[in-house]
């Protein structure tokens, strides 16, 4: 039966086709990647539509495609709560972050913080926050990749993790941001096209009326599938999860880095708008796909293949489009993971090379050739780390790891970034303390939460009652930054803020 781990020739054919295409892109991109600037930003010439699609490709992970479709298939309405939370972060990125980030920075979001504060302390702090987010996000993607490829193509878990690591390494190492961008664009187009076609094939059975599909689901499984279920029960926990999903997007290093690939702030602005439309449209599609799988495949058949429901969308493709379409959707799911891990690794390499090596170890006295060399070495190291962690963390809950990454991003990176753009009195000590407080609070509270203490360690009680730390750790990070900055004001840093204000709005060119 499809999806039970038997090698599938058509699926493997599409999968090899995507690898050949993406490596051809990499060979082409490698010829345009000679300087650190080209490696990190593709030379800054990406258009608004291209960057919008690449942002969508960087953001829509396997968790949002297979995970949300599965969640909807198994619990109906509740899947919508995650979709909505992941989308509403995008307008916040647009309103608060994208344009100032483009105008003030060059390669990493730490550039923005470092522009007005003391370089070394804030770069070290931001690097800790970034690398923590990137590590958890990478683990989640690698574990997801291993599981999926085993189910989809019948390849062993470890083999799948190594393949993902090696192919992604080829993109980033040789093609830098140019290859990463085009892999993300191709993936976004394939994912949006594949999901649209699948949704159309489903709706064709219901006279192209989504309500007829939902009615049929309610007839088979009861009106309960149309209403909120057990996913959100505690209101404080719901707010906490919501805060992390919403503000985490604005603190993800691999997303923020993409704004440096466009010419100016106006292009950055348009690119977020394209991304928001594409991602919102995609989440509406996954809702159709989830209900389609619930009705056409049936819940028992979905959970029989994978208890988490992750195979709902590929099984649906097989049911409405045959083995060929199943192979295509499987290859799209694989492309999805590759594009996300490439973006993550590139942003991790930028943090290690640009933030830590060039600006901390070498005090900013480094040439482009050396920076590029270090960035490439960092890429190889990160790929190896990703492969090893992917194998070590086999069997971990993927959605939980992604939640962790969002919680750290929202607590460690977002408060400092937003305060350094908005608040003239932020000081180096305040920024540093805030990043560490946010990281430690997010990690510590997750450790003390029921998710670890009761579910994993099998203890009777958990010291911290919430599953999501956001409602505590995000305000804490803001409070620490503000209190520490006000206790020991640094007038020179405030005056540097005012000196940078023109550049914040107009960019660096004049």
């Amino acid at each position: 039966m499809i999806g039970t781990g038997e090698p599938n020739a058509i699926a493997i054919g599409f999968f090899l086709g995507f690898i050949v295409l993406s490596l051809a892109i990499t060979v082409w991109a490698a010829r345009k990647t000679h300087t650190a600037d080209q490696f990190y930003t593709a030379g800054g010439g990406v258009t608004a539509l291209q960057n919008g699609l690449a942002l969508a490709g960087d953001f829509m992970s396997a968790a949002s495609f297979l995970g949300i479709a599965g969640l909807v298939a198994l619990s109906g309405f509740d899947g919508l709560i995650y979709s909505v939370g992941w989308l509403v972060g995008w307008p916040v990125v647009l309103f608060l972050i994208a344009e100032p980030l483009r105008n003030l920075g060059r390669y990493t979001f730490a550039d923005v913080v470092a522009a007005r504060l003391r370089q070394k302390p804030v770069r070290v702090a931001s690097a800790v926050g970034s690398l923590a987010v990137i590590t958890f996000y990478l683990i989640a993607q690698m574990v997801g990749a291993g599981n999926l490829i085993r189910l989809l193509f019948g390849l062993p878990y470890e083999f799948a993790v190594v393949i993902v690591g090696v192919v992604m390494l080829a993109y980033v190492l040789f093609g830098g941001m140019t290859a990463t961008t085009w892999v993300q664009i191709v993936k976004a187009v394939l994912l949006l096209g594949g999901a649209s076609l699948l949704a159309l094939l489903v709706l064709a059975r219901f006279n192209f009326n989504p309500l007829a599909l939902f009615s049929e689901a309610a007839r088979q499984y009861g009106d309960g599938v149309l209403s909120p279920g057990r996913l959100v029960t505690d209101p404080v926990d719901a707010i906490s999860l919501g805060l992390a999903l919403m503000l985490g997007t604005a603190g993800l290093p691999h997303i923020l880095m993409r704004f440096y690939t466009v010419r100016d702030a106006r292009t950055a602005r348009s690119s977020v708008a394209y991304a928001t439309v594409a991602i919102g449209f995609f989440y509406l599609l996954t809702f159709i796909l989830g209900f389609g799988a619930m009705v056409i495949i049936g819940r028992p058949a979905i959970t029989q293949v994978d208890a988490g429901g992750n195979m709902a969308a590929p099984l649906l493709a097989a049911a409405v489009g045959g083995t060929g379409f199943f192979g295509f959707i499987s290859a799209v799911a694989f492309a999805t993971i590759l594009a996300v891990v490439a973006g993550l690794t590139l942003s991790g390499a930028a943090t290690l090379s640009h933030d830590l090596w060039v600006n901390v170890v070498r005090h900013g006295q480094s040439n482009s050739r050396e920076e590029l060399l270090v960035a490439r070495a960092a890429t190889v190291a990160l790929a190896l780390v990703a492969i090893v962690l992917g194998i070590l963390f086999k069997g971990q809950n993927v959605a939980y790891m992604v939640g962790l990454a969002f919680a750290i991003a929202a607590s460690a990176n977002f408060p400092v970034l937003v305060l350094s753009i908005f608040w003239s009195r932020l000081t180096t000590a305040g920024a540093q303390a805030s990043t560490f407080a946010g990281t430690i609070a997010a990690l510590g509270l997750i450790w003390l939460s029921p998710a670890i203490q009761i579910d994993v360690l099998k203890n009777e009680t958990a010291w911290f009652p919430l599953r999501n730390p956001g409602v505590v750790s995000i305000p804490l990070a803001f409070a620490v930054a503000i209190v520490v900055s006000l206790l020991r004001p640094v007038p020179e840093e405030a005056s540097r803020f005012h000196a940078l204000e023109r550049r914040l709005h107009l960019g660096a060119e004049d």
Partner: protein
């Protein structure tokens, strides 16, 4: 459209930019957390079926997504016309 009479100083442009940015952010958060609080506190209300196959909760969830698009459009339109033209005035 009425001629823009706001003084083109950096302070004025900056204040206008942050006013719009913060208002729209607060609007997005209010809409989203309003939805989440209804999910947490009033499940029966959201579960009410308002048309065959459509519950109030599903309609509101889709409207949150649509509102994210609308707020994005409002900001981009404001920035492309007002903000950029005032920045153009500052560059001169």
């Amino acid at each position: 459209m009425a001629p823009d009479t706001t003084p083109h100083t950096l302070e004025a442009v900056s204040a206008a930019r942050w006013r719009i940015a913060l208002s729209l952010t607060v609007a997005m958060m209010a809409i989203y957390f309003g939805f989440i609080l209804l999910v947490a506190f009033d499940k029966p209300l959201l579960g009410r079926v308002i048309a065959p196959g459509l519950s109030l909760g599903m309609l509101l969830g889709v409207l949150v997504i649509v509102s994210a698009w609308v707020l994005t459009w409002v900001y981009v339109r404001w920035a492309n016309t007002h903000y950029d033209s005032r920045l153009g005035g500052l560059r001169r």
